[in-house]
Amino acid sequence: MSDHHAHYLAGKGSTGKTIMSWVWTYDHKKIGVMYLVAVLMMFFLGGLAALGVRAELFEPHYTEFVNDDGQVVADTKGYKGAGSDFVVPEGTTPEQRGVMFPNITVTTVETNPDTGERTEGTKTVTGNNIYNRAFTLHGTIMVFLFIIPAVPAALGNIFLPIMLGAKDVAFPKLNLWSWYIYLFGGMFAIFALIQGGVETGWTFYTPYSSTTEWGNVTAMVLAAFILGFSSIFTGMNFIVTVHKLRVPGMGWFDMPLFIWALYATSIIQVLATPVLGITLLMVVFERTFLIGIFDPALGGDAVLFQHFFWFYSHPAVYIMILPGFGIISEIIAVHCRKRIFGYRAIAFSSIAIAAISFLVWAHHMFTSQSPVANVVFSALTFLVAIPTAIKVFNWISTMYKSSIAWTTPMLYACFFLFCFTIGGLTGPPLATLAVDIHLHDTYFVVAHFHYVMMGGTVLAFVGGLHHWWPKFTGKVYNETWATVGGWIVFLGFNLTFFIQFFLGTQGMPRRYATYPTDIPAFEIMHKISTVGSWLLLLGFLIHLFVFLHSLLAGKKAARNPWGGLTLEWETETPPLEHNFEREPVMTHGPYDYDTARPVNADPALFPMPTDTPKAH
């Protein structure tokens, strides 16, 4: 047994030993930190792909090749072949054309209309499929490598056991396995995406994905399959931890709401992910053995694939957003220093969302399945809106008559409420059959899910990162610059995505590399959106530098900078190797701000309602 009184980040004597203490660690915090670093890297990688996507859409024209005289000699549509002026060297194989950046040097031919004389030059062909790969890269990385593990596997891993007063998760070795599976699957995915690329979109719809010759679809699908195991193991671990390792005296309704949210998330992870696994495995079989189950050309059924896929991937949406709900519950309670309004309603709505999430998947298929099934799924879809609405009302009610600290996490909680409410409220038009028929697979959907996923989960994640940053790194970050970064992210986000709702109502379909030039609204809106994406980049870079600065030059953080009452604030900063010096004793609930004061809190800084006169 190692020294229990050392911080978990403390070195182990020599550099080699310290490195090994990370590589072979069973400590949930170290595993969480490794996850955190990985998902942040993935976030920036996926973000770069998104910037590329936005850049391509800045204007509708194809990339043009201009010769020295400024004349357009060719454009990328020539890649298609129709009216092409490209000459591809003899013997260019589909494999060569199937790499991420094809780098096919072609001869461009310009014919002088008067003399018929041909002049030749050389250019490198790019085309739509670069764009297609970029949005697939963005989608797969953001979904499988960033947003699904972001909150549960990173922040959840670090804080779930501490908030329960446990020394570790139930199965520390499995936790490490889960991390290495993630690492392996992630590297596999990056390999597939860079070396050859994938251009099926992250949804891998058959028969396109099962028949396309382009890129490394098989490898990418296998990578997603592997990543699924990581997710399942994390979920299993959390469920058992919550059931078995709560500190004595902590009942189910004494758990912080973050734990409730993670618990609900874990249920979905365990119950839905295996179906994704088998679906992807069948796509691999489809590609290798031509089993024909999902391929209509072989007698199979393409809609069946969509059912299989969305049975996982819709609940996966709640894997992404539920932990975000949990973080917001924590931030609002702590920074408003207020007992959360309707604790049980929030807790139960998490579980309700988890259960209902299994009922609604086919609203992704309103244009592909039978109209009768559409009606059923439309009705079921509205069900999930109710618990979600309840949560928003509860959070805003918690702010009533509270004592709100204007901190970066609280700022992010407000941003979350703003953006997620928009994301939530644009759900009903998509659940309403008559309207969805028009909006399905347009930019309205793109905007909607970015408002939920990015305006919801990512803002909550960044907010949570600021909230817990002092605790798990032991360093203070620069509040001013974090606030500046937050505002830029918020503005950039809304600039990028709000306009896309109107692109969608105007009928701009998703996943288009270009768009008709004669609809002026398209171009203007795309331009605004692209400018917004640059602002987003700036905002996130500011956050990155704030965090790096904090790590390198930040002051040592206090034990309980915000005055939280949950158990993670009672341990050292950063936490000890086994979290607590001695097993914590539950003396108050997680949100008893009107009756309890944090351990060692200064009464002047932490007045109780009982010892101050009425505020107004």
């Binding site: 047994m1 020394k167 299993m236 469920i239 179906v275 696994g277």
Partner: protein, 294 residues
Amino acid sequence: MSDQQHNQAGFDAGPLPPAGTRPHETYVHGHHWRDRWEEADGAKLGMWLFVCTELLLFAGFFCAYAAFRLMYPDNWHEASRYYLDWKIGFINTGVLLFSSWTIVMAIRSLQLDKKFAAFIYLGITNACAICFLFLKITFEYIPKWQLGKLPGKYFNYPNYGPADPAVIDSTTLPEPAGPLVDAGHAITNGATDMVASAMNSGVMDVLPIAAKAGEEAHHVPMPHDHIFMSVYWISTATHGLHVFIGVVLITWLMFRVMGEHYGPRRYTMVENVGLYWHVVDLIWIFLFPLLYLV
């Protein structure tokens, strides 16, 4: 034991049992668990969650099966009848059920501290698992492979031919060309074409088909037989893979049992492998009638 004691001692392994006892008696539970029974309970709960994931994984196969059964009911009934031999499946069901029972008995033996009996029971379980795989591969997979009863595109429609030579002449059915291995997509799937042509020309409706291979006697090939075989192959192969993993796990358990790592106070791992093994059995309980019988 009060909480106070826990706060002081609970963060370490607790008092160690006397030295010199057998490994399972000196077993120390994980430091983060209250005691080893909690740990065992937790491990079992974790195993049940894993069992759930296994069930949902196979639910994918069952869903595919049910979907196509719904779409092509007669086709699937016929295909099940004529491509699969229920006798092998039946024997294998018995073998798996028996192995399920023996692994239960292995746990019982450990609980009663009968190391050798547990070892024997595990050995029998393992033998059954290997027997299952042997029967499956020797009497199902290999013959099917040879006859071209392969999944999807590689499915070779049986060597059908009408009894009356006059008819076969007039319909000029192409000769079966062996497993279709032409590259590319199956839009020009010759085998399906042949069946389509045969059905279309009315041969199928009128004549009993004399099969050259005895297994398919009197079978009328149908256009979606290859999908049935796809589901058969992928579901039984995935199940077989689980059986194989079971063999590895049980072999490992046998070594551990010989090393006295398990006993009345510690048998969670055996119990969990047992759960896994029962799930393998459970899946087969459904696969067998669905694929082989109905």
